[in-house]
Symmetry: C2
Subunit: 663 residues, 2 copies
Amino acid sequence: MAYPQKSFSKTSFPESSFVSRRRQVVYDNTLLYQLNVLKTTGRYDAFKLKWHSSYNDKPDVWPVPNHLFWDSDVAKWIEGACYFLQWKENSEIDAAVRELVDMIRSAQQPDGYLNIHFTVVEPEKRFTNLRDLHELYNAGHLIEAALAHNEHYQNDLLLEPILNYIDLLCKTFGPEPQQKHGYPGHPEIELALLRLYEKTKTPEHLALARYFIEERGNPTGQDGKHYYDVEGEARGDRENERPVYWPANRSYWYQQAHKPIIEQETIEGHSVRAMYLLTAAADLVRLEATNSKPMKDALERLWSNMTDRKMYLTGGIGSQKQWEGFGIDYFLPSSTDEGGCYAETCAAIGVMMLAERLLQLDLDGKYGDIMELCFYNAVMTGMSATGKQFTYVNQLASSDTDLSKRAEWFTCACCPPNVTRLLGYIGGYLWNYDVRDEKSVQINVHMFSSATLSIPVSGNALELEQESNWPWEGKVKFSLRNTSNVWTTIKVRIPSWAETWEITPKLTNPQLEKGYLTIPADWVNSNPSFELNIPLKPRFISPHPYTNQDIVALARGPLVYCVEDFDNAWVEDHFKSLVLDPSSIVDETQVSEKELGEPYVALTVQGVPYFLDVDRNKAQRGPFGSVAYKQTKVIESLRFIPYALRDNRGGKGHMRLGIRRKH
Amino acid sequence: MAYPQKSFSKTSFPESSFVSRRRQVVYDNTLLYQLNVLKTTGRYDAFKLKWHSSYNDKPDVWPVPNHLFWDSDVAKWIEGACYFLQWKENSEIDAAVRELVDMIRSAQQPDGYLNIHFTVVEPEKRFTNLRDLHELYNAGHLIEAALAHNEHYQNDLLLEPILNYIDLLCKTFGPEPQQKHGYPGHPEIELALLRLYEKTKTPEHLALARYFIEERGNPTGQDGKHYYDVEGEARGDRENERPVYWPANRSYWYQQAHKPIIEQETIEGHSVRAMYLLTAAADLVRLEATNSKPMKDALERLWSNMTDRKMYLTGGIGSQKQWEGFGIDYFLPSSTDEGGCYAETCAAIGVMMLAERLLQLDLDGKYGDIMELCFYNAVMTGMSATGKQFTYVNQLASSDTDLSKRAEWFTCACCPPNVTRLLGYIGGYLWNYDVRDEKSVQINVHMFSSATLSIPVSGNALELEQESNWPWEGKVKFSLRNTSNVWTTIKVRIPSWAETWEITPKLTNPQLEKGYLTIPADWVNSNPSFELNIPLKPRFISPHPYTNQDIVALARGPLVYCVEDFDNAWVEDHFKSLVLDPSSIVDETQVSEKELGEPYVALTVQGVPYFLDVDRNKAQRGPFGSVAYKQTKVIESLRFIPYALRDNRGGKGHMRLGIRRKH
């Protein structure tokens, strides 16, 4: 097994699939679009360590300066760019990466320190606010950029300064009395250090990652107190002076630092931080198989809590805007005007990261299902078909204050480059494999597309190809090219939503365990080409009744659908009064629309739809009365489009995914 | 028309009615119980201005010292005690009132100032934090106590020092350059000043009340800025140092000071503050009939927003714990574990206050309906049958963290004495009247009970008696004793929930306007005894569908019912998985239980109840699947009890009012 950021290079995509079309858009448009934004906003030149006028701006989110993430914006772009350059060269992107790397090298301080804000703006405040200021988070993204850069350029131009910086961090943080017993408020460096350790095998890199993970939430870590308390006192913070994102004083659960990870019973706080932290924790469990049971138990517990009680129908997580994160169990409103819905794009990318790591620990379809759900819905809805517009928040319904509209950029621009880099290494999510010795291989197929995995075994390339028009069609043709006669077992995920499935030629006595179908090596030997067929039919889905969301949504395969005003122009209330009968007849239509970049399957619910008779319900003065419905004859049907494809064709931004259920 | 705090003395109650039994409990138990609490906690002696050890305590709710309300705790008890002493003398209560008044007189400072905290603890901080510290709120309650005291004792022993204090306030606050352009964070003094003005006719009292009401929310009131900004800067507050109850900086909507009242479109913030403020605004509209249209429009707009979109089935208001107040439109979860439910007892008392004032402006049953709904549910549930236990928060369902249990007292003890004083002057809510000249009277009957209203007209007492076992029976017998042949029109509220009603003898051509039935004077003249009969039948009620609360509750007459574990001992999940079919057959049972102090009507839903099959729904992993039900044969029926009577018989504290609806 390996990190998808590395293994992705073994996967190639032909030109016509959902995944390859999205990758092409990023290569053609997004990377250069984002490079241009980096340049015009000042980010590109920031490692020159000159003053930028925006450094005077008041923070939008106190106490976090708006430019605090600039290091990571650059790093994530470099990382994504290097993944794509491995696929296809591009001289403009290549030149930019080289120039940025030069600037980063020149920004390093004599002692190894490397951070824009704490060199240019507040050099005296280095490592004085790990809790709120993204100093170590930025370091983590620099590590990830350096690893991607090293892989593509096969030189140490970026890795070298980063290793120097990490040396400084290894000296600064740790359990020794003279070291700071702190850890970052926004996890990221943990998972980056573990990836770095895979490359360097330097024990200090592993040790620092382990320290950050295990020390987190220690109530008596520094001078008998919580590290963040000691740090705050040293800064002269007042007791009731609290960050914008904290509803109450000492809301350390926001940072998942309210208690050690292994003691956490429920998933809390900022959802991206939680996902990055648990991804690192899962990597640590994999690396340190012994003594890791409490951490593995915590991972399973927190995963279950999240997916059973705190995840939207789209795979999105986080309903609370103030802390960009999780609410209480089953608190999953659809929109701002119903109590909140956040579902940040980065958070869903984080769920995919965690799911992929958990699949390496335990091949269970429950992880694969969620990984695919997130990719096709909560993540892919984050970028327009043009690759030039993005979302940060992904609500399940629009409202007057939060229309279903993408933006061109964000002050805190974490999401756009995160989508870029994900699509850069998406091949690593499709499948993973284990070469047991030079004679046997196991390939686990998690997601479907048209793609070829090429594994070097015994000096030859073992190739597994899948051909599919997934997610639009449910037929997947597998072909194994096995010139060295390697004993190849293939495990294929059967999605839990699949009502039926079929393997051709017929597999006698099929073994389906925890959502993965085993295709035995001997069978593959005699059937190197076989076909999986999962009929894709529209189905109604709904959340747990304890969510108090009495809604139904339409899904087909891994895609969840929504209604938009573009197709249903009569809407004036964000479909809030629309009701849907889950016994309705649903038709499929193949659609080609220029704006969407690819043909798709639209769904149409036939029949005159019903609406809540809101006036009549209002006349009964809220507290009393019962629900009344009405119909409007001019509307003859409801048209649905995949949520991932919303807001690509104009319109006024009215959209809804979960429709009130008609009883 | 007059204030109910004054007019109540015209109403007498016979011994056996719901209202009179509650009043008897307060007279027998609550007043002395609360007096004892005042003594043991230090409140009683606090006006001696000695240091109390608790003054060293850290605030539970920064920046509000825990003892900051002690002035008002004492004042509200005096006020309530004086109402009850007008009914029946009691030497112990009388002696305590006299001693407290002596202490309050002795606490007054040479310049008229009168406040415990700002005399003993922080004398240098007088009037430096109107926003958070309840200095003027306490002054308001002292005014109300003084008025009640004056009415009962017919002397100025308490009124005198209070008038001196008000003189100081009139000098300190106002529009003149040398005056502070501030107003209290917690309204109360506004309504008290208007009541005071009714007695004193001193123009400065009216002017100060008007100033506090109209200046509120002025964005440029002090030195071109918001008063609270200027005050905060003068204190040296830091920008991000914010009170515990503020989710964000400058949450002035918490104090209804985000904009002038007449510009407010929706009801926001702390619910008690909102009700006290609008009650005063309604009084101001009544007093100043000209130029008051914008304020009257605001009152109607905010009332509609509250009752249509932000009120629970019980009449409770406020779903948000952090600011003890309103959420967004239609955000009305039942309990902590579903997103919050506050419904503070004092807030529902405030709704009754506001409703009563609005009825004086506009005789509309929509106000009377809500006044009665609040009284019989959200307010009366606030006190135990013994009169010695109280609630602050009144959720519609219990949860493991918030059981359905009353407490003996609170650090912030606003609610218990508020119930006491309300029951002291409840007679003033039953009806109001208008003596047009010495020959014609209009009596408006808002609520039913056994009670006699005695109005002096033309030197004789005009008496209207109602005899009823309301809320248990729907028959109300009216008798007018009219020795002076005063032309008496009676308007009787017909509750909006009444399916049918009947007047005997038959009223030909009955006129029902905005929920009030006119019994014309000539008809009353020939029918001085008549009977109103409103059949009370169990009915199912439900909130507006936009609340996303797919629940039904049982009601009968003005009472809303709940299920408790005492009657349904099998419950283990706070009835969260219970579902209820609103077409079920419901039986009534007359019940007498010693703990409840009075016979009541219980309701029983016949048939084996259904439950959500939670395990099966969970197995489908939250986001997917549809609702499954199950039955448990050992449970044969569901027993309901009025919400007002919950938690009087022991049990483990599992309770629910709105039951998930079975489809």
